[in-house]
């Protein structure tokens, strides 16, 4: 009799656990963004406190808060651009990996290529003038011997 009760209890327990497992499997999982999705945005932003450290690799508590903020914004359906705009509004443009192309920021986009082009041009001019000089020397007719040297050599010859 006891044996039957125990068996019934065990079967009941097993069934209960089984159904609860099924229930867990069917329960809707919160469709939050993955760490990779959060880091994809975070790596485009820089920690406003610790210099030159992207948010995705920054180990401070402040950065953890900002990554959490990115996660919340992604859950709320914000786009990458909206999140970046929000961070700029809150913490200034220095949080951006690249300065937005406006005002004096254009210098960051124009000056480096312009300096490269100017440098290349100067190099080209220098190289060209260096190549032209020796050929110009060889092409030049031999200079007539100096009168003084001529006379000196003659005097020496006479002496000898």
């Amino acid at each position: 009799m006891y044996k039957r009760v125990w068996i019934a209890l065990l079967i009941g327990l097993a069934l209960g656990l089984g159904t609860s497992q099924i229930a867990w499997a069917q329960a809707p999982t919160p469709a939050g963004p993955t760490d990779d999705q959060v880091n994809a945005v975070a790596k485009q932003l820089y920690c406003p406190v610790c210099e030159n450290t992207p948010l995705d690799v920054c180990p401070t508590q402040a950065c953890a808060q900002w990554r959490d903020l990115i996660r919340q914004k992604l859950i709320a359906g914000w786009s990458e651009g909206q999140i970046k705009d929000y961070f700029v509004e809150q913490y200034g443009e220095r949080v951006l990996g690249t300065p937005p192309p406006r005002g004096l920021n254009w210098l960051f986009y124009f000056v480096p290529p312009l300096a490269l082009i100017t440098g290349a041009y100067i190099l080209y001019r220098t190289y060209r003038s260096m190549r032209l000089k020796p050929s110009a020397q060889t092409a030049a007719p031999a200079a007539p011997p100096d009168e003084y040297v001529k006379r000196l050599e003659e005097e020496l010859r006479k002496k000898n």
Binding site: P48, V49, Q61, A62, Q65, L69, Y91, G92, L104, V111
Partner: protein
């Protein structure tokens, strides 16, 4: 002879034209250096000095109010920069609130808290935790801290009735009496 030689040198050498390209390049270079120098000077400028006029700011508080420094003339203003992730800020939070409650009935001392590079939820949790009742708001775009040339948190600036900086501290206050010792000399008995 020599005169003849000099006379015979060709006088038809064309006058040198100004090298506009070179001039423009030099101008551009100096302009760029000037801009870089101005930027460097502005970023390297130290914090506001004692006795100097404090830059005006308007703080939008977390509860939707607006606090303009210019409107506080005639009062002593205590401006405290803090962040919820800043452990030293926690050391002084209770003392600052106690000081605010001590001076509030007088009406001639204003306390303003500025949350620097913080998230709103964390800031509000911090304000709630320390039961802070004086106006607090975020430093949007870190504009106010840039105007003050702050170096970190906590930093406290005490501004006199004429809008000039009377006291600054780049570390947490350790007691209420320390805060009072900084404010009391500015108040009329």
């Amino acid at each position: 002879m020599t005169d003849q030689n000099t006379d015979s040198t060709p006088s038809a050498v064309p006058p040198r034209k100004p090298a506009w390209g070179r001039l423009a390049a030099w101008f551009g270079l100096f302009l760029l250096l000037g801009i870089v120098a101005i930027g460097l000077v502005s970023t390297q400028q130290g914090p506001v000095g004692i006795g100097r006029q404090v830059p005006d700011f308007t703080l939008e508080t977390f509860d939707g109010q607006s606090v303009a420094l210019a409107e506080q003339r005639g009062k002593v203003v205590v401006v405290n920069f803090w962040a919820s992730w800043c452990k030293p800020c926690e050391q002084e939070a209770a003392d600052l609130e106690a000081a605010w409650r001590y001076y509030a009935p007088r009406g001639d001392v204003v306390f303003v808290g500025i949350a620097w590079t913080d998230t709103e939820s964390a800031s509000l949790e911090y304000i709630d935790r320390f039961d802070i009742t004086y106006p607090n708001g975020p430093d949007l775009g870190t504009k106010i801290s840039q105007d003050f040339h702050t170096t970190g948190v906590p930093e406290t600036y005490i501004i006199d009735q004429t809008g000039k900086l009377a006291y600054k501290k780049f570390a947490p206050f350790t007691s209420l009496s320390e805060i009072r010792a900084a404010i009391d000399p500015l108040l009329e008995p």
